[in-house]
Symmetry: C2
Subunit: 158 residues, 2 copies
Amino acid sequence: MATPTKNILLDEQLCFALYTASKRFNHFYAEALAPFKLTYPQYITLLALWENNPMTVRELGSHVNLDSGTLTPLLKRMQTQGWVERKRDENDERQVNISLSQKAIDAKPEVFAHVNTCMDLLGMDEKTYAATRDTVNFASERIKHAKPKKIDYDGPQF
Amino acid sequence: MATPTKNILLDEQLCFALYTASKRFNHFYAEALAPFKLTYPQYITLLALWENNPMTVRELGSHVNLDSGTLTPLLKRMQTQGWVERKRDENDERQVNISLSQKAIDAKPEVFAHVNTCMDLLGMDEKTYAATRDTVNFASERIKHAKPKKIDYDGPQF
DNA sequence: TTCTAGTATATTGTACGCAATTAATTAGAT
DNA sequence: ATCTAATTAATTGCGTACAATATACTAGAA
């Protein structure tokens, strides 16, 4: 008798739950941030800079987990919208320093107030919110360095 | 004294935890599915079809939460790779039926076996895995229909 | 100094995601 | 039968994501 293979149902997959939840949160924030003309990745970029300003593209990328292929065009758009400045480092011209504009500094309280108001709609108390986040981060850490086994697929090639 | 605004720290945000976790799972699956030349969205499309074959683009989209703007080109690529067939419904020519190819039907056990093997690397027992997924789905449902309040941002416009 | 290895960012190419629009088809009311 | 509203995919446009490559610059060894 052949070894039975465990069935994989879409709605039981953790990956799909995360994938769907992430998109829904993205959609929610997109709507919440629309008045500020910010996308979600742009918002987390601002969050990082509001905590630590200025940063090089590399430093910023390590905080938000994005590489230059994503950040360079994103930051250029944010510069166009007046959120950040981009300037080559004078001492090391390989680096580009990203700094908050005055607009971004001024807008921080308004953005925080509005986002906090929106997040109240989640209707989760502090404890539940923190527990959910920690649970997600636990799984996130687990998958972070996992390396899938390499195999050969001998099916039909195209 | 002005009303203090609650601070928002990037690493404490549930949205960011989900965003990061989703990307990491995506990266993990991308590597696991590479032998089959499947991307993660293509994989969940196959999961849906393995459960229910064939489906219209609309039905498929309701299962994987993607619209035709994403699915149409994705399905065309999967057709090129020999995973699915696309055919206009004869009775209702508005609809396009997506069906599994023989290759996709044959590959199912191999894909399941390999993905199951890879998921063992997570090192989470069944209970923890299910609890994590349910926790994520709970937050996902909460955010699903939440509508952010509309406001005007009177900051500088560009 | 000059060559070389390393580092930081930008660019390129592919594949999503999704809002908004378009095009084709169908069904329903008169 | 005909006109209209609704339905379904496809298309368009914009913004991520990220691997791979290219470019520019820096620092260290000979």
